[in-house]
């Protein structure tokens, strides 16, 4: 019970996010209007995804340093959970796009970048399922994971910010910047707990997946 304080924190923060996120006052901005509340969900999905992919990267590097089966389990399950959060990020973004930009999918560099980044993680899943030998699979997928992470970072963080690449997202191509909403103290009071809450939830799901996989391997090895 002592070690599960962060789970309680997660529940408290997410309950607060849902209640305050829908009821607290938000600034009236052109185009966005009430849909700005999606910030507490859409943006947090990406934060959670980045966090869990970073965990996955960390354990992949650790595996290459010292081939321990447990590192492989953590890296793989974290990636799977990250993919789920990535899909949630894309779908919440798609909904938001429908009501602000008028279409489910636009040819925005951030949208395409995120989709391709997820595609490279789908390839990670395919790669893992394609190999039977456990050690070989762990090693090759660890190498692939490092590559995929770097490419994802380039695509999500660097590419949309380049000159000459126009994005509809806030802060790009003449759109109002994220900082403009962030300055609003009401939104900040919900947004920061929301980010922490979603990251904790992501960690929680990943820890369950990791423990299930450990048990599966244990039963398999008996």
């Amino acid at each position: 019970m002592k070690s599960s304080w962060w789970k309680c924190l997660c529940i408290v923060f997410l309950t607060y996010t849902v209640i305050a996120g829908f009821l607290m006052p938000v600034p009236r901005l052109d185009i966005l209007h009430e849909s700005i509340r999606n910030l507490y969900f859409h943006v947090c999905m990406w934060f959670a995804m980045m966090f869990i992919f970073t965990v996955s990267l960390f354990y992949s590097i650790k595996y290459l340093g010292k081939p321990n089966e447990d590192y492989d389990i953590i890296a793989a399950q974290s990636s799977y959970v990250g993919i789920v959060f990535g899909i949630l990020g894309l779908s919440t973004g798609s909904l938001w796009a429908k009501y602000t930009w008028g279409d489910w999918w636009t040819n925005d560099p951030k949208l395409n970048g995120a989709a391709i980044a997820l595609l490279s993680y789908f390839a990670y899943v395919v790669l893992r399922n394609a190999m039977d030998d456990e050690q070989k699979r762990a090693r090759i997928s660890a190498v692939y994971n490092i590559f995929a992470y770097v490419m994802m970072m380039v695509f999500i963080m660097v590419y949309p910010r380049l000159n000459g690449v126009d994005s509809l997202h806030p802060g790009n191509g003449g759109n109002p910047g994220f900082n403009q909403y962030d300055l609003d103290s009401h939104m900040r009071m919900v947004f920061y707990p929301a980010v922490i809450g979603w990251i904790l939830l992501c960690t929680w799901i990943a820890s369950l997946a990791i423990r299930t996989e450990r048990i599966k391997r244990h039963i398999h090895n008996q």
Binding site: I116, S120, F147, V150, M151, Y159, V165
Partner: protein, 60 residues
């Protein structure tokens, strides 16, 4: 197995495609330097990662 590397090469392809699109249109040249720098940085990064990670792949 080699086909798996395709998604990893897409960033390179898209940057190059964007750049050649701008070159053909020939109107707005302000974004060139950033994209060329990005392309070179991507190349350098891929080369560095390959150099570092290949020994692990090869160790069979």
């Amino acid at each position: 197995m080699a086909i798996i590397s395709f998604p990893l090469l897409v960033p390179l392809l898209i940057t190059a495609q964007h750049l050649s699109g701008m070159a053909v249109a020939g109107s707005d040249t302000s974004g060139y330097s950033g994209l060329v720098a990005a392309l070179l940085a991507l190349d350098a990064m891929i080369a560095a990662l390959c150099y570092l990670l290949f020994p692990y792949l090869w160790r069979d």
